[in-house]
Amino acid sequence: MKIKPNLFPYVLWMSFFVIVPLILVIIFAFSTPEGGFTLDNIIYATKYSAVFWRSIVLGAVSTFVCLIIGYPMAYCIAKIKANFQSVFIMLLMIPMWTSFLLRTYAWMTILEYNGLLNKLIAFLGFEKINMINTPGAVVLGMVYNFLPYMILPIYTVLSKIDKKVIEAAQDLGANKITVFKKVVFPLSLAGVVSGITMVFVPSVSTFVVSKMLGGGAILMIGDLIEMQFLGNAYNPYLGSAVSLVLMVIIMICMGITNKLDEDPNEQNMIL
């Protein structure tokens, strides 16, 4: 096996900082503090099924919400004049480049019991609602943080659709809805699929959003891992086992989306 010389440092770097650490996670997941082999950590991790389940459900719900509100947004942007599109895309990106911690923190201010939204509700004469520290608040936080990841890939695909294809369909007598259903939507599926992964992966594994907007009462996989490494229950072996399970889940998800995305005539890269 010969490697190009200018690839060498990169290969070395990636094996040392990507492959070796992942192998360490696997080793830790299967070992005892004394260094022996064990399956206990993995078996122990299954005790937290409820946490895994909650993360997957909340992640799926936020991905779904992102899709529902993100697709029309991408569609709207793709329909405006080409010159202005980049401006809108930039407007979409700006919040993404501001610290997500601070933005999530801002939602705390808005959603609190005595927060701005409840002030408004009380001003309008309604009963205050308990919004913060509910699963709904966590979903909102995730949708807010990851919505651009859904809009951008869909927009990219939509904007590349050849206008002539749509015109052809219209010429053949299709009305607006049929054009969308039969032409635009199927062509945009690739963007939808990559949007779904780009939202689902960070949602499932988040730990800051659930901590800040869930009040520490809505435990997710990320929180569980953090607890094992830096928090309440120090146990890197169990933490590694949980990370490993999370990794497997994500890899399977990626596999599914990649297969869906796959051009039947072309071999795909991952899995």
Binding site: I43, A45, T46, K47, Y48, S49, A50, V51, F52, W53, R54, I56, E112, Y113, N114, N130, I132, N133, G215, G216, A217, L219, D223, L224, M227, F229, L230, G231, N232, A233, Y234, N235, P236, V245, V248, I249, I252, C253, G255, I256, K259, L260, E262, P264
Partner: protein, 385 residues
């Protein structure tokens, strides 16, 4: 040309980096790891203790804070962190001693140690007084909003339906379990699995009423009326009650938990002598007084205590009467087995005690794998067409 530019820039940065490292070596500094709101920081006209230390000795203080004892434990047992002074609580001190993670302190370097009241020497967690110098002590009690909470304040009120979603709770296993155990009338140091189970069940019952599990965010949430009930450390009562006179603080008389937080030097500290200098400095009367005044925590320092204002000295919250003290319990370190059990139960509490059927995870994984296979099969059949 650009190549040289890049090389030059990277070189400059390398130099800059090594420069900092070099500077750091030359400039003496210590890393202190402590609780939040735990030191006089110069605000509100107090002395900035760390700056004063630097001024007097030329040693820089890197002051970092943790949220609870367990976080501290995780940080230093994970390795790679080199703190010189840490301030864990009683039970954590004894856990660290047991795990051989503390340096023995050379008390010759800490002449001010004699100013610490004898009541705080040779305590259970460090019986021979080799590893720790008491910094503050206090009790656990309950913050309440006088306007909204009218019922009698005791541990039961944290389970009162009336205050649903307005109750805060400790975000660490040991303190949260202590409250549940005290309420049930058990020892906070119980190793009895069934008692711990019962305590956990009570916490699970309490969970729907709890707005959030937090630590120092309690200050904010209780002062601005977000929450109306919250158990926390007595020392912080001074700060909170000053911000909002509507907030009261009660230490349940029949049973509470007393804590002593002590300064220790973790194993692996590269600046042991400087650390001892810092500890000695913290035991100086003017510094201890400034800290006691600013943070509100009760001081074990004899002279500083005597110099405090009368209304603080006689305040039941900070210096409770004999009865409360006699009824209070102090944490001791638990066996590894019990620690693990508590951690496990705590995750169960926080995840809502939902069905913990271990097969669920397997089913989830199988579901994902099945979905993957389905997609593969679907694709393949399409391709064949």
């Amino acid at each position: 040309m650009k190549k040289y530019l890049i090389v030059a820039v990277s070189l400059a940065f390398a130099l800059m980096l090594s420069g900092c490292e070099f500077q750091k070596n030359k400039e003496k500094s210590i890393n202190v790891y402590s609780w939040g709101e735990f030191i006089a920081d110069g605000s509100d006209g107090t002395i900035n203790v760390n700056e004063k230390f630097t001024e007097e000795t030329g040693i820089k203080v890197n002051y970092k804070t943790f949220q609870n004892n367990e976080e501290l434990f995780a940080k230093i047992s994970g390795g790679g962190a080199d703190y010189d002074v840490i301030i864990p609580s009683d039970y954590m001190v004894s856990r660290l001693i047991e795990k051989d993670m503390l340096e023995k302190i050379n008390f010759d370097n800490i002449p001010n140690y004699k100013l610490i009241s004898d009541r705080f020497k040779n305590l259970g967690f460090d019986p021979k007084n080799e590893y720790s110098v008491p910094y503050v002590w206090g009790m656990i009690g309950i913050f309440y909003n006088k306007k909204e909470v009218t019922a009698e304040i005791n541990w039961d009120i944290l389970w009162n339906e009336k205050y649903k979603n307005r109750i805060l709770m400790f975000d660490n296993a040991r303190d949260a379990f202590a409250i549940s155990l005290l309420r049930l009338g058990y020892s906070v140091n119980t190793e009895d699995a069934s008692q711990l189970r019962e305590a956990a069940d009570e916490l699970i019952k309490q969970k729907p009423l709890v707005q959030a599990y937090v630590m120092d965010q309690i200050f904010d949430k209780i002062s601005n009326g977000e929450a109306v009930l919250a158990p926390y450390y007595a020392g912080d009562a001074a700060v909170v009650m000053k911000n909002n006179p509507n907030i009261g603080f009660v230490i349940p008389k029949y049973a509470s938990e007393k804590f002593v937080d002590s300064m220790c030097i973790p194993k692996g500290s590269e600046n042991k002598e400087l650390a001892e200098k810092y500890i000695n400095f913290m035991c100086r009367t003017d510094i201890a007084l400034a800290n006691a005044k600013k943070t509100g925590y009760s001081t074990p320092h004899e002279e500083a205590y005597n110099l405090l204002d009368g209304d603080i000295k006689n305040n039941e919250i900070f210096y409770p009467d004999r009865e409360t003290l006699n009824n209070s319990q102090t944490f001791v370190n638990l066996s590894e087995k019990t620690n693990k059990l508590i951690d496990e139960l705590w995750v169960e509490v926080k995840s809502g005690g939902a069905s913990q059927n271990p097969w669920n995870l397997v089913i989830i994984l199988l579901g994902f794998a099945a979905a993957y296979l389905a997609v593969v099969v679907l694709k393949n059949s399409k391709r064949k067409k």
